[in-house]
């Protein structure tokens, strides 16, 4: 039995075979024991791709630790995989650690002898330790009786045994998960699990032990989209309008279940344009509202975002970024909607863009978005991404705000976004900002230019004034921004700057580099537009400043965030990581890149 304090493993199966469900059950058990977990599902692009093809790769990557973890990490130490095709496919991603143990089910070897041998050789050549096994005959019989279902329970059994999880403890989670299953089916599933548990695929000596800690605080297990949906409710938003799109849809699904129970309304619109229109209508009538979408939907909403700016009707838009452009890679991650969010609507339409990095951010971002949107009366865009939206994490049970009057937003929420309270005297283009129902305050709003009375005006001065007033709202937000907390050194050779979901990787990479004696700092932004003042001062404390973005860049093309920072600070900010490969940034990759960069500039 080997004691572990940090471990990553993955379970890979054909889509539809329940790998994620098995992973869920397992991590719940871990989490309950006090182990920190981070789980990233691998989801195929098709609904049910044909089995035994590379497209069918589905599964869960799970990272365990006895201290808090912020990201999925770099490499897996162990893999349990259903058949040779999935292994072959996943080997390409080069995410296995040296000496990684691969548990390979030989169930399909009969019909693919050569392919099996080829992949086994490939894995061995790469230095991995392939351990093959077969599902026991009794288990196979039970699986057959379940029409081919249940293999995931066998695998779960193997893993549970491997991690020395108490069998009955784990069975209680199986029961909880499958509580809607008829008793006989449930029993078969449990039996299969037990067969797996007892299969002795690995020697006991090789089994692993995670000693959980006893948490002081209650813990919750949440993925980003669920956290965001719960945050919407806690933030007092009472209308959600949306149109389905991967990876934003699950926000709608959660709210469809939850909102009515909290007095709110869920509206599925005919398209993304309509959805944001309904949000604006609701806000005009005085009810805080939100919509969520992904890239293509953001493009469609641009015209209405402009109306929100001009008419000073608040609105909140969540954009869960995916791989792009166009339909792109709906189930891969990227950070390339930054400009579309900040600058996408025609004309000069100042707005605020906030990004999220993790489950906590997702829960609190609706609060701060609502606060800014309502106090400044403008659109606020929240940038999440595929990776954040689907990754689960165990966190302290989140402190609720139960926000009602936005002016009374909790300090700890503002702090979380490195923000002070906004000034009470932000000027509006239009003086009267009342909602329907209030007598003697009737008013009309429009997307045309207006003066302070709200009446249409075409004069040069009123147009300029309107631009100025709107821009100054953003400046007011800017003045309220504090500098985000920094990781690592306060000055030195290199500053890694990022936003959104790169936070965990930056934090971990900086930590590790600093431990190795490298003089590096990390700065991560939640608010991405506007940026806090005095950035230049901070940048100048480092010899070099680089960004970490999941976006393409090269020597002739600055990545979006680096472009913003270059313009803002006139420092030669380069993209250190400017790759758009659809997968989250590995801390180890970041460390290597940083080291290589420093070596290069030191030699230059």
């Amino acid at each position: 039995m080997q004691k572990k304090s940090n471990f990553r493993f993955e379970l890979l199966m054909d889509a539809g075979n329940g790998a994620q469900k098995a992973g869920d059950i397992l991590i719940k058990a871990f989490a309950k024991k006090g182990v920190y977990v981070f789980i990233e599902p691998i989801i195929p692009a098709e609904i049910s791709p044909p089995k035994r093809t590379p497209f069918s790769l589905s599964g869960a990557v799970i990272r365990l630790s006895d201290s808090d973890i912020t990201n999925i990490g770099s490499f897996s130490d162990l893999v349990l995989v259903e058949h040779e095709i999935l292994l072959e496919r996943r080997l390409q991603d080069q995410e296995f650690t040296e000496g990684c143990t691969i548990l390979l089910d030989l169930g399909s070897k009969k019909r693919a002898q050569d392919a099996y041998e080829a992949v086994e050789k490939k894995a061995a050549d790469a230095g991995y330790n392939v351990v093959s096994f077969m599902i026991s005959e009794e288990a196979e019989a039970l699986i057959k009786s379940l029409n081919g279902n249940g293999k995931n329970m066998y695998y779960l059994g193997i893993l549970a045994c491997l991690f020395n999880v108490d069998k009955d403890f784990l069975i209680s989670f199986i029961k909880q998960t499958f509580k809607k299953l008829p008793k006989d089916k449930l029993d078969s599933n449990i039996q299969i699990f037990e067969f797996g548990f007892n299969a002795q695929v690995m020697d006991e000596a090789d089994s692993l032990l995670f000693e959980g800690i006893t948490h002081k605080n209650e813990k919750v297990l949440l993925d980003g989209n669920t956290a965001l949906a719960l945050g919407v409710i806690d933030a007092g938003i009472r209308l959600y309008a949306g149109y389905p799109i991967t990876p934003a849809s699950s926000i709608m699904h959660s709210l469809a279940r939850l909102l009515p129970a909290y007095g709110g309304v869920l509206h599925q619109a005919e398209d993304e344009i309509s959805a944001i229109g309904t949000v604006i209508g609701s806000y005009f009538a005085g009810v805080p509202a939100i919509t969520a979408t992904s890239g293509p939907g953001l493009s469609l909403k641009q015209e209405f975002i402009g109306l929100s700016v001009a008419s000073e009707i608040p609105c909140i838009v969540v954009d869960v970024q995916r791989g792009g452009p166009s339909t792109g890679l709906p189930t891969r991650t990227e950070q390339t909607d930054l400009f579309a969010a900040a600058y996408g609507s025609h004309g000069d339409g100042p707005k605020v863009v906030i990004s999220v990095a993790n489950v906590d951010d997702c829960f609190y971002v609706p609060h701060v978005a609502r606060y800014i949107a309502e106090v400044c009366r403008l659109p606020v865009i929240i940038l999440s991404d595929y990776m954040i939206s689907v990754s689960y994490r165990v966190v302290d049970k989140l402190k609720q705000s139960k926000l009602d009057d936005v002016r009374k937003i909790d300090d700890f929420v503002l702090d979380h976004f490195y923000m002070n309270r906004l000034s009470d005297s932000i000027e509006m283009v239009k003086e009267n900002q009342n909602s329907p129902g209030i007598p003697d305050q009737m008013r009309r709003v429009t997307g045309l230019n207006t003066g302070s009375s709200g009446a249409i005006e075409y004069s040069a001065d009123s147009n300029h004034r309107a631009h100025e007033v709107r821009s100054k709202k953003i400046h007011a937000v800017r003045h309220a921004l504090k500098m985000p907390e920094r990781f690592g050194s306060d000055s030195g050779d290199l500053l890694l700057v990022g936003w959104g979901s790169s936070r965990g990787a930056i934090e971990e990479a900086v930590q590790s580099l600093v431990n190795d004696g490298v003089d590096v700092g990390g700065l991560h932004f939640k608010m991405v537009y506007p940026l806090p003042l005095n950035l230049t001062d901070i940048f100048q404390s480092y010899k070099h400043v680089v960004t970490v973005e999941m976006a393409y860049g090269d020597s002739l093309k600055a990545t979006p965030f680096s472009m913003m920072l270059r313009s803002e600070t006139l420092c030669d900010v380069q993209g250190l990581i400017c790759e758009a490969k659809g997968r989250p940034i590995k801390p180890i990759y970041l460390i290597e890149k940083a080291q290589a960069f420093l070596k290069e500039v030191q030699h230059a």
């Binding site: 009515p260 604006i280 209508g281 109306l307």
Partner: protein, 302 residues
């Protein structure tokens, strides 16, 4: 807060805000006055009324009504109105939209607005032309009419707004003309009283760009559809030479059949009670057992 509901009856003057800036003779003036008249007759309070429009000459109405209002973007008044309906169901909503705004860029929202049957009065200002952008072909432009976008004549037959609305599943479909004052106000009245999405097609004069669209000086070409119980009375004062046809607005088949005679027939074409989306959604919330915010995270605790 003055209790305006009791103290101050709404007058025509109360409903005025800034001065309209339409062309002389534009039917939009008549619609504006008709709407005010209707509000006064029904004593609909200004603060509880929202006029919502897209873009077009027609889109200017909200500016001229001293109620709440949104002059929004082209073709998108319906989604906004729905947001208001779901947020504050007690408000009275009037949506104003041109033939281009409704049936060209806004067609999808109109389809879904009609289908959702949420509570509002929808006024389609049909001047058979793009007014504000200066005279391009609209979806209701008569085939053959030369316009700047089709100098040798509009290419195809116009969309029939009535068949469209019926095909989309409308619960209330009426057609009127702004120059027939009584008929217009009565139509608004019937539309307002109908629960759901009340689709009102309005023949509207655009003397500037499409004077030949509606022959308002003659009335011999038009027929009123009347039904003693449910319909809208003929307006013999405004249209003395009009024919009158007895017609029941309760039959879908009748309605589809008569829609072929649009735009020569005026009156209530169809009316049926249908479930309303806004009510269904709000009732669902109302009937749901309400949870305590403190329990929000309980299901996720491990």
């Amino acid at each position: 807060m003055p209790n305006s509901d009791v103290v101050n009856p709404v007058t025509m003057k109360d409903l005025k805000s800034s001065d309209p800036r339409w062309c002389t003779g534009c039917g939009d003036y008549t619609i504006l006055v008709g709407l005010r008249k209707f509000m006064v007759q029904n004593q609909i309070f200004r603060e509880n009324t929202v006029n919502i429009s897209g873009i077009g000459c027609s889109g200017r109405i909200p500016h001229y009504m001293n109620t709440y209002g949104i002059h929004s973007i082209h073709g998108r008044a319906i989604p906004i109105a729905l947001g208001i309906a779901l947020a504050k169901p007690e408000l009275k909503l009037f949506i104003h939209s041109g033939d281009g705004d409704s049936l060209s860029i806004g067609g999808n929202h109109l389809l879904h607005g009609i289908k959702k049957n949420f509570n509002c009065v929808y006024l389609l200002f049909d001047n058979q032309i793009y007014g504000l952008t200066k005279s391009q072909t609209s979806p209701t432009t008569r085939q053959g009419l030369p316009t700047p976008s089709h100098p040798s004549g509009a290419m195809i037959e116009p969309i029939n707004p009535i068949s469209f609305a019926l095909g989309a599943g409308a619960s209330f479909v009426a057609t009127t003309a702004e120059w027939m004052g009584n008929h217009f106000v009565e139509t608004l009245d019937a539309a307002f009283k109908h629960p759901g999405f009340s689709f009102v097609h309005i023949a509207q004069r655009c003397p500037k760009f499409n004077p030949s669209a509606w022959n308002f000086q003659d009335s011999s070409w038009l027929t009123f559809l009347v039904d003693e119980q449910a319909g809208i009375a003929a307006d013999s004062k405004s249209a003395p030479d009009a024919k009158v046809q007895s017609y029941s607005p309760h039959s879908y088949e009748n309605a589809m059949a008569i829609s072929k005679d649009v735009p020569n027939v005026f009156g209530l074409v169809y009316k049926a009670e249908k479930p309303m989306y806004d009510k269904l959604v709000l009732d669902a919330t109302k009937n749901q057992k309400q949870k305590d915010l403190d329990d929000l995270l309980n299901d996720y605790i491990i």
